[in-house]
Amino acid sequence: MTHVSIKKLTKIYPGSTEPSLDNLSIEIESGSLTALLGPSGCGKTTTMKMIAGLLSQTSGDVTFDNISILNEKPENRGVVMVFQNHLLFPYMNVLDNIGFGLKMRNVDKEEIHQRVIEMLELVKLPKLEKRMPKELSGGQQQRVALARALIVQPKVLLLDEPLSNLDAHLRFEMRDLIRNLQQSMGITTIFVTHDQEEAVVLADKVALILDGKLKQYDEPDVFYKRPIDEATARFFGGQNFINGASKNGLFESSVGKFKIPEICMKGKGILTFRPENIQISNSKSTLNSVKAKIIEKIFLGTQTRLKLSIDSEIIQVIANPNEVENTETGVEIFINFPPSSLWVMPK
């Protein structure tokens, strides 16, 4: 179990003036599974390569259990990185691929064989040790790459986009496999992804990095309920933003006054709420209720998406198809905002 601290880690590539990673500081609990989330080019892979020792940092530090590792060679850090495209050595069979790290540590052949067979059981690929990488499916290759990393019992495991090359039905299987192995072996694991869904389903904590800077570091649900700013909210699929000002537990805007949670910030800000947390009714309720007109209605199978106008503001709502069965485009309805679903971000 290893506690990882990243302290003011910065990377400026030669020939560039803008940092690719700017003062990143996060604490990663030992044995946890943490996602570095951001669009491509945000600096997340750079971070991972610096932790692995495959790229040198410009400044800052990385410590494992309070000991800096930055002067260690990559092979001595106890960090293993699993690349997105698996990178199984093409001329080695599965046995030699998985056993590679042990061979580098001069473990004897018999033991390597033994441990590879055990590892193959763990990743649910029994009896495939003689196959060549190109004879495996994408999902199998991924599991071999994972086994190859886990067999050396790293202190820290780094995964690059672990689910993104997989079909939808394999994603959950792989997610469970990664979670189970990571939990049972207690390996502190960091993965990078550009896909917020991947981050949310897999991680204990998510660090959102935009343009080389850490935006927010929290549990996954917080990014939906209490995003730190509009860019963060938008990254997580937020669509509803209303300008106004927050004062004494109320948010005042051009479309009305809304009661908001006490912990919200004060002053000029942006009100946001998830499309799925809005209630629709035919009559005005007592709290946070406004009249809205349906301007578009799209049936999506298990849910219905509505585009509504409140005066000049346009908002998106996701409703239960049964609730809005009889409403049509052009009809006026009431919408209620439960105070606990509202959140105010700085402008």
């Binding site: 020792g53 495959l54 790229l55 040198s56 060679k73 990559p74």
Partner: protein
């Protein structure tokens, strides 16, 4: 990998790169100096007297160097043209189709790139004598096809492997005749390959020595033959000048095609030069 570069590893790197660069240009230097030297004897590091005599000789109308130059250009140009004419269709067959016996055809066509010229040219010579092709330019051009044609086929099959035949089908369905389809669709797509392949086929022919010597019987005096004669007769100054003239086309061709020249297929033919 990132291993922080130390002063030691940096200077090691610098010194080895400097040595490599030196080694790469070194053999050309005495050749260039000789072409401007007048009597450059041991133990002088540099010539005592400089002169343009060797160049005057090489570029004069009477010495025959220029005649050799034009003859060499002619032979290489014709051999290249024929290689393109014959190599492009074969490249298309190998690059775009799968067929039974393809591996054998590839082996047949590529064999000349591995088997040295001396191994075949003696036999060819004994046949060419009886049909009157020895000592002729035609005979020399024909044997030059042995190294140039496989190279052209190699390059063109690579080009055609990346060419999507559906462009041609699209053109035909829009009403273009087969000839027009070739002219407007296929040719523009493969032209860069033809040009690069052709230029290097030219160089392959340009550098042939033993094939020309035997089939030309010393009567077809191309530049390399002349260069060899001067080099072995000890006229170092004239050898230097002819040597410089001889490497010029290669450098020009390189400058023209530098950006196309990477990877294995384009380079493969250099084993022949």
């Amino acid at each position: 990998m990132i291993e922080k570069p130390t002063l030691l590893s940096n200077s090691f790197r610098f010194i080895t790169i400097a040595m490599l660069i030196t080694w790469l240009v070194l053999p050309l230097i005495p050749l260039a100096i000789w072409s401007f030297a007048k009597g450059w004897f041991f133990p002088h590091i540099l010539p005592k007297y400089w002169s343009l005599k060797a160049w005057e000789y090489a570029l004069s109308d009477t010495a025959g160097v220029l005649d050799s130059l034009w003859l060499t250009i002619f032979i290489s140009a014709v051999a290249t043209f024929l290689s393109i004419l014959i190599g492009v269709p074969a490249g298309r067959a190998l690059g775009m189709y799968k067929f039974k016996g393809k591996e054998i055809v590839e082996l047949l066509i590529l064999a000349p790139t591995i088997v040295p010229g001396i191994a075949v040219v003696l036999g060819i010579h004994s046949v060419f004598i009886s049909i009157g092709l020895t000592n002729t330019v035609t005979g020399v051009i024909l044997v030059h096809l042995i190294p140039t044609l496989p190279y052209m086929v190699l390059v063109m099959s690579g080009i055609f492997a990346n060419f999507d035949a559906e462009f041609e089908d699209q053109a035909r369905s829009l009403g273009a005749s087969p000839i027009k389809t070739f002219w407007y669709i296929t040719l523009p797509a493969i032209l860069p390959g033809i040009i690069v392949g052709g230029l290097f086929a030219f160089l392959v022919s340009w550098s042939q020595y033993i094939l020309t010597l035997l089939i030309g019987g010393g009567r077809v005096l191309t530049l390399p033959l002349l260069l060899f004669n001067f080099a072995t007769s000890g006229r170092n100054d004239i050898t230097g000048a002819i040597g410089m003239i001889y490497i010029l086309p290669g450098i020009i061709i390189l400058l023209l095609t530098a950006k196309h020249l990477s990877g294995r297929s384009a380079v493969g033919g250099f084993g022949q030069i």
